[in-house]
């Protein structure tokens, strides 16, 4: 709960008195109320309040105190306070922690949680007889609002507490939640909203999202506590040139684990966590208790690790962002971040969570995984010291979420379009939504859009004679409810040990990875090496394998892009005469780059070209973040294809794109004309895999494609296939379709990240330094070891095919036997 003994008893004038019972209870605990807790109590009647407080600052109690006091003095029938957290685990945790004061003070308060894990019988009872305080998630709340009896269940609701709102605010889950709150506010006009947030760069933006538009939202800032103690882990051995494993640092990390009580070891991707955990165990001679926790692991396995952690049985946990939020971390006294943090804000929040002691600084170590990340880590440390948090402003509320909201509303009963529109624009993110845009979403929900209106399955709403809208087929409610949510799981397949009757579940791997496996391949999951045996229905069957090293590197995970602010810091660092703050191995590397080529400079774009590996290589140091560099790679290869330069593929990192092909680039400037790139973007966007992925996500959220259900799903590949073709179909027959419009908007600010390319283009303003070199440069070398190379299928492929075919026919000695050379084709067929 984060109540702590605090010597600074803060007595404020005009404060709302704490009831005797509470006062006594605080006293028996030896606690005093934090100033921000008192402030929250004083402002209990404010329509919306945002509290920004560090972890361990009694933030959650601050959110609940007004509720507990109100319920203690004035008994209430039915639901009083709704608590929303981004994580199921957090809801369960808060329930435990609330039970303590409620039982110890003998308060007449019933607290229950409701998540996807709650048994159906309990859920049913909760709807008929709701508790005073209901703890839930945005998805479960959206589901509740889809029932016809929603107005009865939420009758009398007085307060909503949104925990970890900074995490929700960055995603569509937050938009969905705020739409649901808009609905609740209509049912209960006096509803008070409270948001609890970690430190963020722009509290006003979150306040705008939280409050009913145009209500004001006061922001309370709690004492941020002492600055974190954070540094880079120095090792005797230099980090490798590329990769994210950080295996070199294992001895040093083990040393740190020994010196601390409990250490959390964060990784940016699941794959890296798996490899690191595996290597850690190989080196763990003292058999320190170390566990692993990430989102792909089987739930039971995760729960076991969480339990062991709470009981203090683990010395270290190797984890990913799945452990980032809210779960009670127990007595963690060290956070190690493996790999560059990519984003300063996330780093600060992550470290902030480590410490439950309010007045002691939290301690953290950064471990760069490769040579470039040494520079990145040092830049991030500077940013933390300067208090410079990064973040990009969010755009207007996404329309796919709105489409889902319209369907959810329809599931609850007939509605009036104007009423719903007015409700939607009370949500901050949708305040600027035009009626026309709303009507387009409504039309999509009703008919599926122009190209699809002939198809029955997408005809979902009809307008009644009284003008209100209702579901065409009441049975659709079930489909709509099953489709609720905005989290996009990549399609994953369960992994099990192969046994006659279905062995132990180990976790999940991404389908794309599973598809790349052939029997006999070995890979890592849950820290063990397994051998791929085969695919049975939707399960990957594996056997244990004693190999020391997995054959197939691993599966993918989330990849974050280095933020604009951090990238700028790195380029600035490059300008120094020397780098005393960097370890010698890295400083030497940069110096060598300066000697044989040059270092990227602010306001200029460095491009290096050189032959390597039998191909012409070009490296563009755009510093546009991974997604931006990826898009740049796609756009440039497309232009190169048009110019007959036969590009064959590219790979992108956060700072550069490497393109290889059959021809060298002589004059890169024409390639970089922003207008031309933008033109290319429009046509390229149409047929691009990134767009298809984005389309798939938006189409699922908006209800055009049904979320895969275990029974309906034969293979995820099928679903990908069909959403891809649906995308192509709409492109061809209805290019103005709402969902294509949404997809473009989403992709531009998400995976495509064209904004970063525009930013790069502005920064560079045509100042290109093109260096033609004879061999790979130090800064370019790591690019050749990067994973995730993207092939370009164009003229180069036809050339290669012809070349290879000639070779094969020649080898087979049948080149001159069968195929007669054609004299001349008489006609041509469009392929």
């Amino acid at each position: 709960m984060g109540l702590v003994p605090d010597a600074r008893s803060a007595i404020l004038p005009h404060m709302t008195a704490l009831p005797r019972k509470f006062h006594d209870w605080f006293a028996t605990k030896g606690w005093s109320i934090h100033p921000h807790q008192q402030q929250m109590l004083d402002r209990a009647e404010a329509p919306a309040l945002l509290l920004i407080a560090p972890t361990g600052g009694g933030k959650t109690l601050a959110g609940f105190l007004p509720t507990l006091v109100d319920l203690a003095v004035a008994p209430h029938d039915g639901l009083h306070t709704l608590y929303i957290s981004p994580l199921k685990a957090l809801a369960a945790d808060i329930k435990r922690n609330l039970t303590t004061p409620v039982t110890e003070m003998d308060l007449p308060i019933r607290v229950e949680d409701r998540t996807g894990d709650t048994p159906a019988s309990a859920k049913k009872r909760q709807r008929a007889d709701p508790p005073h305080i209901l703890l839930t998630t945005p998805e479960s709340l959206a589901l509740l609002t889809s029932y016809e009896d929603a107005s009865r269940m939420f009758k009398g609701l007085k307060r909503v507490v949104v925990d970890e709102i900074h995490a929700l605010a960055e995603s569509k889950r937050g938009d969905q939640l705020m739409l649901a709150l808009g609905r609740l506010q209509r049912l209960c006009p006096d509803l008070r909203r409270v948001g609890l947030s970690a430190t963020v760069e722009d509290p006003a933006a979150i306040a705008h999202q939280l409050a009913r538009h145009p209500d004001p939202c006061e922001i309370l800032l709690a004492d941020p506590g002492p600055a974190p103690d954070i540094s880079m882990l120095t090792t005797d051995e230099a980090p490798p040139w590329s990769g994210g494993g950080a295996a070199y640092a294992i001895p040093a990390v083990l040393d740190q684990i020994r010196q601390h009580k409990t250490t959390l070891i964060f990784h940016n991707t699941r794959a890296q966590a798996e490899i690191f955990f595996h290597n850690l165990w190989l080196a763990n001679e003292d058999s320190l208790a170390v566990g692993i926790h990430h989102g792909s692991l089987d739930r039971q396995q995760r729960e076991r690790v969480e339990g062991a952690m709470v009981r203090g049985e683990l010395r270290a946990i190797v984890c990913t962002g799945s452990l980032d939020l809210g779960i009670d971390w127990g007595d963690v006294d060290l956070v190690i971040q493996i790999g560059a943090p990519k984003n300063v804000k996330r780093l600060v929040q992550r470290i902030g969570r480590a410490n439950h002691r309010y007045n002691a600084p939290s301690k953290a170590l950064l471990v760069p995984a490769n040579r470039f990340e040494v520079v990145e880590c040092v830049a991030a440390l500077e940013a933390v010291r300067a208090g410079a948090l990064d973040g990009d402003p969010r755009g207007p509320g996404p329309r796919d979420v709105l489409c889902q909201h319209i369907l959810i509303t329809a599931a609850a009963g007939p509605f009036d379009a104007t009423d719903l529109y007015e409700e939607v624009i009370t949500v901050g993110a949708y305040a600027a939504l035009t009626r026309a845009a709303f009507d387009a979403c409504l039309d999509f929900c009703a008919t599926g859009g122009y190209a699809l209106r002939a198809y029955d399955q997408w005809q979902r709403l009809l307008q009644r004679p009284d003008g209100r809208w209702q579901l065409r087929d009441p049975r659709a409610t079930q489909k709509i409810r099953m489709n609720i949510g905005t989290i996009q799981d990549t399609d994953t397949l369960k992994v099990r040990l192969k046994r006659s009757r279905g062995g132990k579940p180990l976790g999940e791997i991404e389908e794309g990875f599973a598809a790349s496996l052939t029997p006999g391949d070995t890979f890592l999951i849950g820290g063990q090496i397994v051998r791929y045996e085969g695919l049975r229905e939707m399960t990957v069957e594996v056997s244990r394998n004693a190999a020391k090293k997995p054959k197939v590197a691993t599966f993918m995970g989330t990849k974050f892009a280095t933020s604009t602010q951090l990238s700028a810091r790195i380029i600035d660092m490059f300008q120094q005469e020397s780098w005393p703050e960097l370890p010698a191995h890295t400083a030497d590397w940069l110096a060598l780059q300066r000697e044989v080529s040059q270092l990227p400079r602010p306001g200029r774009l460095l491009i290096e070209s050189f032959p390597h590996d039998g191909r012409e290589q070009t490296v563009i140091y755009g510093f546009a973040g991974r997604n931006g560099q990826q898009t740049l790679g796609l756009l440039l290869t497309k232009r190169m294809e048009e110019m007959g330069l036969n590009p064959m593929g590219f790979v992108a990192t956060d700072y550069a794109t490497l393109i290889w092909g059959l021809n060298a680039i002589d004059t890169p400037a024409p390639l970089f004309d922003l207008d031309a790139l933008q033109d290319g973007l429009e046509t390229w966007l149409a047929g691009n895999a990134v767009m298809k992925r984005t389309f798939r996500a938006s189409a699922t959220i908006a209800g055009l494609i049904q979320r895969n259900t275990p029974s309906a799903r034969k293979s995820g590949r099928q679903a990908t296939f069909s959403s891809d073709i649906l995308y192509d179909t709409l492109q061809k027959y209805d290019p103005g379709h709402l969902l294509l419009d949404i997809t473009r908007e989403e992709a531009l600010r998400g995976l495509v990240d064209f904004g970063r390319i525009e930013e790069m283009s502005r920064r560079v303003a045509g100042r290109i330094d093109h260096l033609k070199l004879t061999r790979v440069t130090p800064l370019a070398a790591p690019m050749f070891l990067e994973m995730g190379r993207v092939p370009v299928k164009g003229a180069a492929e036809e050339k290669l095919l012809a070349e290879e075919a000639a070779r094969l026919m020649d080898t087979a000695g049948i080149a001159d036997i069968t195929p007669q050379p054609s004299n001349r084709p008489r006609w041509r067929v469009g392929y």
Binding site: L452, A454, Y455, Q457, G614, M648, A712, K714, Q718, S722, I725, L726, D728, T729, K732, Y733, P791, E797, E798, L800, L801, A802, E803, E804, A805, L808, M809, A812, I814, T818, P819, Q820, P821, S822, P825, R826, W827, R828, V829, G830, Y831
Partner: protein, 220 residues
């Protein structure tokens, strides 16, 4: 140039990049495994909805091939419809379109395992057809000579400087020629598969479809 010329059972043939077979001397165009109405059948049987318009897409390509070749004879080598119900359920505009394509040509529907039995479309319905040295049937028969068949949806792949290229392909040896599937949404069977390996002679060739049809020894 987007056809590959070859001779088979003494007939001079052209494998088109689209997957159609063109026999100039007879002005005969042969396509196999159109699987028209597939999304309808998939929706009917599994509840999964494949996107619409795939029939439209297949016919667009066929119309282009017909326009370019001006074929006098069209042989649909079986599995032209995903099943008989799908054939019956094709919307009116599609039926009209097929009729327009048929106008002025001899049109033969060879029966396939997906569409056995008579269809209510114009044209001849045959088990198999013999024209000169060539026999057209849906599934390859044992010990056949000069046989043109479909059914297997063959595809072939190869590695070219580290890049894997995989495409629907014609398979050809001295006795048989197997056509790739022409329909949109038709998967493929790799030429490495046992069944194709047994069916084709050791010196068989594969002609990969695509912008430039390319002939290679059949990968196995």
């Amino acid at each position: 140039m987007n056809c590959h010329d070859f001779s088979f059972a003494s007939a001079s043939l052209k494998a088109l990049g689209s997957g159609a077979l063109w026999w100039p001397d007879e002005a005969l165009l042969c396509i196999s495994d159109l699987h028209l109405g597939k999304s309808e059948r998939v929706a009917r049987r599994s509840g999964q909805s494949l996107p619409p318009y795939e029939t439209h897409d297949t016919l667009t390509r066929l119309a282009a091939d017909l326009a370019h070749s001006n074929a006098r004879i069209v042989v649909c080598l079986g599995d032209s419809f995903d099943d008989l119900t799908a054939a019956a359920a094709l919307p009116d505009d599609i039926r009209l379109w097929i009729t327009r394509l048929q106008a002025g040509r001899r049109w033969i529907w060879i029966e396939g395992n997906h569409d056995p039995g008579p269809l209510e479309f114009g044209g001849e319905h045959l088990q198999e057809l013999t024209v000169g040295p060539l026999t057209f049937r849906h599934i390859a028969a044992p010990d056949a000579q000069g046989e043109v068949s479909g059914h297997y949806h063959p595809k072939a792949d190869l590695q070219a400087r580290g890049r894997r290229i995989s495409r629907p392909a014609f398979l050809c040896d001295s006795n048989r020629l197997i056509l790739p599937a022409y329909g949109t949404y038709t998967g493929g069977l790799r030429s490495h598969s046992d069944v194709l390996g047994r069916l084709m002679q050791p010196k068989a060739l594969a002609i990969l479809t695509g912008p430039v049809p390319t002939c290679i020894p059949m990968p196995r």
